[in-house]
Amino acid sequence: MSSRRKVLLKVIILGDSGNQYKATIGADFLTKEVMVDDRLVTMQIWDTAGQERFQSLGVAFYRGADCCVLVFDVTMPNTFKTLDSWRDEFLIQASPRDPENFPFVVIGNKIDLDNRATVAKNALAQESEADNYNEFPTAITLNKQENTNSKGGCSC
């Protein structure tokens, strides 16, 4: 049955979390099954550890990824600025077949703390207007998610 055919979709989540509330050890991992055009797609979501001692693992974790989600903290402008380096890091380590067209999704997290987000908003506006994000060849989803946390914010 075609509808039962399982498709695995590996999604990597990258980015600095503003306030470190819990450091990821190795990788946090969750799966979510979604129906896409009659096919059951199992999304395998890897939230990898950003700490230096686990940096070497990136290559194994990133490889075979179908999508990369870059997450920043809307209350911390710096987390947005470092997305560039995360993207580069990903492309180097995962070395996807077609790096020019690899799908990235950018998510602004913690929008529920919007009252503190003015600085980030300005930064975001400047960055996206001015420079390199316009050069992104892939479609950028500036997913200013209505949902208040990143769990619901994933979309590819």
Binding site: L8, K10, G26, D28, L57, G58, V59, R63, G64
Partner: protein, 851 residues
């Protein structure tokens, strides 16, 4: 700590090993002999020791009901080196054991049980591995990969006869550990892991590790997948293409040997054997294990060697694991485990559901034994438990002839609930209360209905009689004799009667109710219902015989309620020969009060115009009156008389002669006789009684007024009043006071007299003054009548005149009937000359005029 996944079972004991090495009578040596490495394949176990021995055992495995026992049989031992053996690998296809000792590989021929002299020795070897996945390779050979102490690995294909060198592959660093799967060798280099494709010699870098802080290991876990030691004791899965497809597992520090037994990763460090679940990355089990050497998986079990002895980690049957989890209340985990185990064993969904349900049921019983009633109920319900399984925990609740036997294998170990409560009354009450709630909340299957209903009935009968009736009245299917016995034992007679009623055994149920009514037996639940309930039930029964049999019980207790049974039946229009009004009246004769009520209902409320009913009622009234008279109860007599008189006056249907015959026998019933005479039209007789016997002048007057309303002509009315006048006058001769009555009568505006006749009747000696008012009224009314008559006559004449005029004018006009003239009623042509002209001028056929 979750329940166990493995049991640790001794496979080769230290004492046996030592005895085998040194011979039976050898003295304890100063140098301890320890195990350094081992390999096992099917039943063969090869051990390498510190003193350079290789020892071969056959391991026999025996399964008892409880556990697995291993027995080792020494096959041979041989000193092959002076130094400790580093690694032994048995290659069954080539009957060889490959031994690594002091950086040299030598080949041990198992058939000759000695080192094979024909094979060259390989020097400068770091380590080696055997291809663990031969897919695609030669079926006769076995590939071996040797990691040399230089920067390359060497690949050989080995058979019993020879080792064939295939190729060398260069590496960027010195190899430390190798593991081979099909055409890929995964190598732990000095600082990183790489995958080498032996066919293309292509290197895929996996990831780097810290060679000072981390202990590297490479463990093949599945076709094309390895488990590698990463930074901070993180175990990382990687496929041959370098992709990590499973989340990493946090291991204990210093882990150096691994084994995989789906879905568990078993790890060994210097102190522990730790089991992880690869599905949720959680630690499943940890066993203290000192001086561990290495792990080897063999079919579904894992062997673990310490320096001293060898154990097997025997997987605990998943059912047992599930049971263990259930005991720890980890129902979710138990279900998941069952799911994994069953998916692996390839069972169908329906079979799996069955297993799932059994687990839920077991969980339910365990929760129940811990008094976690909510959980218990939920699990048992979701698991679709056979309700009888639950009921059977409570002794004596199943129906006496229940065919139920508990399921095999058992879902729990409890004989009954007493074993759980250990005689604690309060707890046992709680359990019973839960059972009631549980049974009430679950829809039972057909097969269970009998036992469930019986059980509920027993529970209700004992504790909650209030719910008993609801149960019995809503499709109750419990065991018959059990039900009867229980209800009798607990004195639930009313419920028993209801049960019989539901079972269509009306006779039995009525007997019980009549005994309850007569207080022969007691049941508090019946008391508030009492007689009216019983009468209602009787009233609704369709069986007339039963009604007549049991009605006397009610009638004796309360005639009105008793009579109402019959009146209600009459009103509801149930047709039944045996209970038509005539036979009912006959039946009720024994119960006068009820009969009165019934007849009154028929005659007065239901307005039945049947002579016999009316006569009968009158007779009954009379009977009642007579009996009251005998008792000399004046108040009663008064009220009964009023009733009788009003009935006699109002009803026209009774047989006057019959009643009169009865009434005339007694003088004190003269007023009634008067009414009856009046009814019979015998006005003078009635008036005579009223005036002469009763001297009830007012009554007489009103009698006349009433009677005159029934008369059609004035002459008759006059005659009636004249009769009364006559009676008065005949009495007034010797009684002056009668004159007053005479004058009153004459002056009564409702009285009708012919003045001329009255004038004749009035004695001559009466003064005009007395009669003046009457005379005046008479003259006035005569004048009035005369004038009225004249007006009427004139009006009639005028009518006549007008009619005559119309007649004349009509006669003077002509109507022409032509051929094409049509009837104004049927619109057909006139065929003959005869026609009708109607009052409104329409000309129609004669036939049409008739219709």
């Amino acid at each position: 700590m979750s329940s166990k996944a493995f049991d640790l079972v001794s496979t080769l004991e230290r004492s046996i090993l030592l005895a085998d090495i040194r011979g039976k009578h050898a003295l304890p040596s100063a140098n301890p002999v320890d195990i350094v490495c081992f390999d096992c394949c099917t039943k063969n176990l090869f051990i390498g020791t510190t003193n350079g021995f290789i020892i071969h055992y056959i391991i026999d495995e025996r399964k008892t009901a409880e556990r697995v026992i291993f027995k080792s049989h020494l096959q041979g031992k041989k000193a092959v080196a002076k130094k400790p053996l580093q690694l032994v690998k048995y290659v069954p296809t080539a009957d060889q054991v490959i031994i690594l000792v002091d950086g040299t590989i030598c080949v041990f021929d198992t058939t000759r049980f000695d080192l094979s002299p024909s094979h060259e020795r390989f020097k400068n070897v770091q380590t080696f591995c055997v291809n663990e996945n031969k897919e695609g390779g030669s079926p006769f050979g076995q590939q071996v990969c040797i990691a040399s102490r230089k920067r390359h690995i060497q690949l050989y294909n080995i058979t019993a006869e020879k080792w064939i060198h295939i190729r060398d592959i260069g590496l960027p660093e010195l190899p430390r550990i190798v593991s081979m799967d099909s055409s890929t060798v995964c190598v732990a280099l000095q600082t990183k892991y790489v995958c080498v494709n032996v066919e293309t010699s292509k290197l895929t870098e996996l990831f780097a590790y810290d060679n000072e802080a981390d202990t590297p290991f490479v463990k093949r876990v599945a076709p094309g997948e390895f488990f590698l030691g990463g930074p901070s004791d993180l175990g990382i899965f990687a496929t041959v293409s370098g992709v990590s497809q499973r989340p990493p597992i946090q291991l204990k520090s210093g882990t150096f040997s691994l084994a995989f037994s789906s879905p568990y990763i078993v790890s060994l460090n210097s102190e522990f054997v730790v089991v992880y679940n690869a599905l949720n990355q959680q630690q499943k089990q940890a066993l203290q294990f000192q001086r561990g050497v290495s792990l080897q998986e063999q079919s579904d079990r894992v062997f673990v060697a310490s320096a001293q002895d060898i154990y097997a980690l025997v997987p605990v049957p998943w059912q047992k694991q599930v049971d263990g989890l259930l005991l720890e209340h980890k129902v979710e985990e138990a279900l998941k485990l069952a799911e994994v185990s069953y998916r692996n064993s390839g069972l169908s969904q329906s079979q799996f559901n069955e297993i799932n349900n059994v687990i839920l049921q077991k969980a339910g019983f365990i929760e129940f034994s811990l008094y976690n009633f909510d959980e218990a109920g939920q699990y048992l319900k979701t698991g679709g438990v056979d309700l009888r399984e639950v009921i059977s925990l409570f002794p004596g609740l199943l129906s006496v002839d229940s065919q139920f036997t508990r399921s095999r294998p058992p879902l729990h170990d409890f004989a009954d609930v007493n074993q759980i409560t250990k005689g604690n009354l309060e707890k046992s009450e709680d359990c019973t209360a839960w059972l009631v709630r549980f049974l009430e909340s679950v829809r039972c299957k057909m097969s269970e209905k009998k036992d469930v209903h019986t059980a509920l009935m027993k529970l209700y009968a004992e504790k909650r009689p209030s719910d008993l009736l609801r149960l019995l009245q809503s499709g109750y299917q419990g065991h018959h004799s059990d039900t009867v016995d229980t209800l009798q034992t607990f004195g639930r007679f009313h419920a028993l009667a209801v049960y019989y009623q539901q079972a269509r055994e009306l006779d039995k149920s009525f007997t019980i109710w009549s005994r309850l009514v007569n207080k022969e037996i007691e049941d508090e639940s019946f008391d508030p219902l009492g007689l009216s309930y019983f009468s209602d039930v009787l009233c609704k029964t369709t069986d007339a015989t039963l009604l007549l049999n049991y009605a006397p019980v009610v009638l004796e207790k309360d005639p009105v309620i008793g009579a109402q049974m019959f009146t209600k039946r009459f009103d509801s229009g149930i047709q039944d020969k045996r209970l038509n009004p005539e036979s009912t009246i006959e039946f009720l004769t024994r119960f006068p009060e009820a009969l009165t009520y019934y007849l009154e209902h028929l005659v007065l409320s239901a307005n039945q115009q049947v002579e016999s009913f009316h006569s009968h009622l009158a007779m009954v009234y009379l009977d009642n009156l007579f009996s009251a008279k005998q008792l000399n109860n004046k108040v009663l007599i008064e009220s009964l008389r009023k009733k009788l008189q009003s009935f006699l006056r109002q009803s026209d249907k009774y047989s006057v002669s019959l009643i009169l015959g009865r009434v005339e026998r007694d003088d004190w019933l003269l007023p009634e006789a008067a009414i009856l005479h009046g009814k019979a039209g015998n006005d003078s007789a009635a008036l005579e009684i009223l005036v002469n016997e009763l001297k009830d002048y007012k009554g007489a007057e009103s009698f006349c007024v009433n009677q005159s309303a029934n008369k059609t002509t004035t002459i008759e009315r006059q005659r009636l009043f004249e009769t009364l006048l006559h009676l008065y006058l005949s009495k007034s001769k010797d009684n002056e006071r009668m004159r007053v009555y005479v004058i009153d009568l004459l002056n009564n505006p409702k009285a009708v007299f012919n003045a001329a006749k009255v004038a004749e009747l009035i004695p001559d000696d009466w003064s005009i003054a007395l009669l003046s008012k009457f005379m005046l009224n008479s003259v006035r009314s005569s004048l009035h009548d005369g004038r009225q008559a004249r007006i009427a006559s004139q009006l009639a004449y005028w009518d006549y005149f007008l009619a005559n005029k119309d007649y004349l004018s009509l006669r003077s006009t002509t109507i022409s009937l032509t051929d094409n003239k049509r009837c104004e009623s049927c619109h057909q042509l006139f065929k003959e000359s005869a026609f009708v002209r109607q009052a409104d001028g329409r000309v129609v056929h004669i036939s049409c005029a008739k219709t």
